[in-house]
């Protein structure tokens, strides 16, 4: 009898605490946006592309941790789209290198499930199932271009249209 009571209390407590822990936060429609940017990464200052702004210091520092072989990061273009359930859309800072995404809803821990396709010159070159979390970007290392390499950044953001990630100053 003692063992039955022990298991009963144990299971009851587990169920209760698990339900509390996994309760998904509620947010309003379209409060999340998928932000994307096309980055040109180069090793030498002389290799930078004229007419494009440097990435802001925070983004450049983050990129530098991942792509340590490059020292300069310029934002060629950026775009962002609101996430709606059962909606597919595009984040297209470049029409030659862009991302199509399908929103698949939420995970229990606050992530957003997305089917992503990276398109290069009109062809899907990679298809992925991804879970995006706040403050955790996805970096895609793209093809070489000019004297550097193209990078694609995707990041989950809150609220309205994102502010530019470039440093115009």
């Amino acid at each position: 009898m003692g063992a039955v009571r022990f298991i009963g209390v144990l299971l009851g407590t587990l169920f209760f605490t698990s339900a509390l822990a996994e309760e998904a936060p509620k947010e309003t429609e379209g409060s999340k946006r998928l932000w994307g940017a096309l980055i040109f990464a180069s090793k030498e200052a002389g290799d930078k592309r004229p007419g494009f702004a440097d990435a802001d210091a925070e983004l450049a520092a983050t990129l530098g941790k991942v792509f340590a072989e490059f020292h300069h990061f310029q934002v060629l273009g950026e775009d962002d789209e609101a996430l709606f359930k059962t909606t597919h859309s595009w984040v297209a800072p470049s029409k030659q290198l862009c991302v199509k995404f399908d929103s698949k809803g939420r995970t229990k821990d606050g992530g957003i499930k997305l089917d992503l396709q990276l398109w290069n010159q009109g062809k899907a070159i990679v298809k992925t199932d991804a879970v995006f979390k706040k403050d955790s970007p996805v970096f895609i290392e793209g093809p070489e271009w000019a004297k550097g390499r193209l990078l694609y950044i995707l990041k989950l953001k809150d609220g309205q249209r994102a502010t530019p990630a470039s440093d115009q100053g």
Binding site: G2, R5, F6, I7, V9, L10, T13, T17, S18, A21, E22, K26, E27, T28, E29, S31, L38, T62, K65, V66, L76, G77, E78, L83, F84, K85, T86, T87, S89, P93, S94, K95, Q96, L97, K100, S103, R106, K108, D109, G111, K123, A124, I125, V126, K127, D129, A130, V131, F132, K133, S136, P137, V138, F139, I140, E141, G142, E144, W145, L150
Partner: protein, 212 residues
């Protein structure tokens, strides 16, 4: 009359009353084997009685008595067993405390390893990656320092320097932004999973179904 087995045993042991002894002796005259058996077992009984006397005085009786009395005294004078005091507080011995504590420990462990609570994987993940072109390979890893998931595409052909990326012009959003079609759709015709396709110069689908 044939005697019963009980009568026969009591006859051999000499426990029968005289009137039954006479009846048994009369039966034995008619059945000589009974008389022979009785004679044999009677002699055997006499021999046993002579070898093992019925009463025997125990040797050193005083010694055994005094020894038993001493053991009784020792038991009576022995100190009562002291109840061992548990180092657990009394309230922790309540029936519900131990399972509750065990559950708390288990929940804590599960949340720490990410089975519940979603704290196990804090960053974004690429669960699956497929490259239609076999010459291209996608390698995915997670960079802890940047808290970022990194997908490296190996095998992509370099783009020529003069390649036009057809960048979106941020200074003219009305030109480069997709056309957004907004429509109020009746709930009755908009079940979960339904899709409305709008075809235009750029691809853009907007539903009015609340998502988050």
């Amino acid at each position: 009359m044939k005697p019963s087995e009980e009568q026969w045993n009591r006859w051999i042991d000499g426990d029968l009353p005289p009137e039954e002894v006479e009846a048994m002796e009369a039966a034995a005259r008619e059945m000589p084997e009974l008389a022979e058996d009785q004679a044999f077992f009677s002699r055997l009984s006499d021999d046993l009685k002579q070898t093992f006397p019925a009463e025997r005085t125990p040797p050193f009786a005083d010694f055994f008595n005094s020894h038993l009395q001493k053991q009784i005294r020792d038991l009576e004078e022995a100190p009562a067993p002291v109840e061992r005091r548990s180092w657990w507080p009394d309230w922790m011995r309540l029936s519900w405390v131990v399972p509750l504590a065990a559950a708390a420990v288990l929940v804590f462990a599960l949340t720490q390893i990410g089975v519940i609570g979603g704290h196990g994987v804090s960053g974004s993940q690429i669960v699956y990656a497929y490259t239609p072109d076999e010459s291209i390979e996608a390698q995915v890893d997670f960079n802890e320092d940047a808290n970022a998931t990194v997908m490296r595409l190996q095998g992509l052909d370099p783009l020529p320097t003069g390649f036009d990326l057809l960048l979106a012009d941020g200074s003219r959003p009305e030109v480069n932004r997709p056309i957004v079609v907004e429509a109020d759709l009746p709930d009755d015709d908009f079940d979960d999973g339904a899709a409305f396709v709008f075809v235009g110069p750029q691809t853009q689908f907007t539903s009015h179904r609340a998502t988050y």
